[in-house]
Symmetry: C2
DNA sequence: AGGGCTTTATGATTTCGATCATAATGAAGC
DNA sequence: GCTTCATTATGATCGAAATCATAAAGCCCT
């Protein structure tokens, strides 16, 4: 008799391979599914094996802010390992497959396995750099320049609406900027909703 | 004979107390001094014992972006432990005293001392949260609301000019917003250059 | 094939922040 | 005390992004 229930989760990326098996599980998400919601109790952190997930924070004024767009190979919700709740929504932008790492297991590994901890630190340091890039992007005042920079940074992968949210601009402004840039010959517009930088 | 050269550096905050003594040094900065500059070779990370230091990044377009304003108890340049150069300028906003932790010593401690590593991860996780707050702040479109949020977040501690840079606004706009908010009775203006939220 | 929905797209208008200009206040240095 | 300088502060103008409005194109579902 073949058991699919006991099927092993394979290819756990370093350093998470050293976590006990009971601390790891797998989850599939369809477009629009929430991996977790802001203020939910935090049970785990995640590794995105494939797909794309947006981390969206809701401000007091009811505004939505895309903090981060996670793609294959990214980890999600590391800070929540130290916090008892999540600080933003994690919404699947594309069909995604994530590995869940139990919060307690991660905490335990952190204090007993220094290699694990070191690798974890490295991941977090990378995150910090990413946020800094994001801040740098938001500091660009001109919508046209900001859109161009965002495009150069490879951030237009989903819809233009998502792209606009990531850039902190209205979608109208982004459409206009994209149209301008196309007219200027700085970017190409191969199809409806598709834009890309001119090759050099 | 009393030796001041050999004077011990006291009160090294956890987890850095476990670093070897030769990996720790102390430095004092006057207003405007640079702890390091963007693209300098990274030799150390830092703990700010007192004062305030702004991390400022220069974009390609020559624009200055305040990524982070470090105050007492903050660590600075953690990501640079994994990088061979600094990614921004660190400029002292107030007279500051910093502890330097040699990059190699930190790396070594990270892989051998799991308690050190765990504490380090926690610090970085905190940093990530801070950057998220900053992103959230920058996402507020109205200058008035942004200034108010920044004030509520306790970010106006130095000059209004620095405050403006942190908020990504021109100082004129910030002065006007502060004047408006004062007129609205939402904040108090006890003295020139001083503003604070109305107590409830 | 058709109805409802979202995304893409652009036009018209308004608003608000940037920019430029100017001046008063206070601090630092001589 | 006087000069120099940065910070604080406000006024006038301009431009660009937000807002409001509208519509076509593509998609999902039946």
């Amino acid at each position: 008799m073949i058991s699919i229930i006991m099927k092993q989760i394979t290819d756990i990326p370093p350093p998470f391979g050293s976590l006990p098996r009971h601390g790891v599980s797998l989850r599939e998400l369809r477009v629009g599914d929430a991996l977790f919601r802001q203020d939910d109790a935090s049970r785990a952190m995640f590794f995105l094996r494939s797909g794309a997930i947006n981390l969206i924070r809701h401000t007091e004024a009811g505004q939505k802010v895309t903090m981060f767009r996670a793609t294959s190979g990214d980890t999600i919700a590391e800070p929540s390992v130290f916090s008892d709740h999540y600080h933003c929504d994690a919404i699947s932008e594309q069909p995604s497959i994530v590995l869940s790492f139990d919060r307690q297991s991660v905490l335990a590994a952190m204090t007993t396995d220094s290699e694990f901890a070191a690798a974890f630190v490295k991941r977090l340091a990378g995150q910090v750099q990413t946020y800094r890039r994001q801040l740098e992007l938001l500091a660009i005042r001109s919508a046209k320049d900001r859109v161009l920079a965002g495009l150069a940074d490879g951030r237009l992968t989903g819809t233009v609406l998502d792209f606009a949210a990531e850039l902190g601009l209205t979608h109208e402004s982004v459409y206009r900027a994209l149209a301008d840039l196309t007219r200027d010959g700085r970017i190409e517009h191969p199809a409806r909703g598709k834009y890309r930088l001119k090759p050099c």
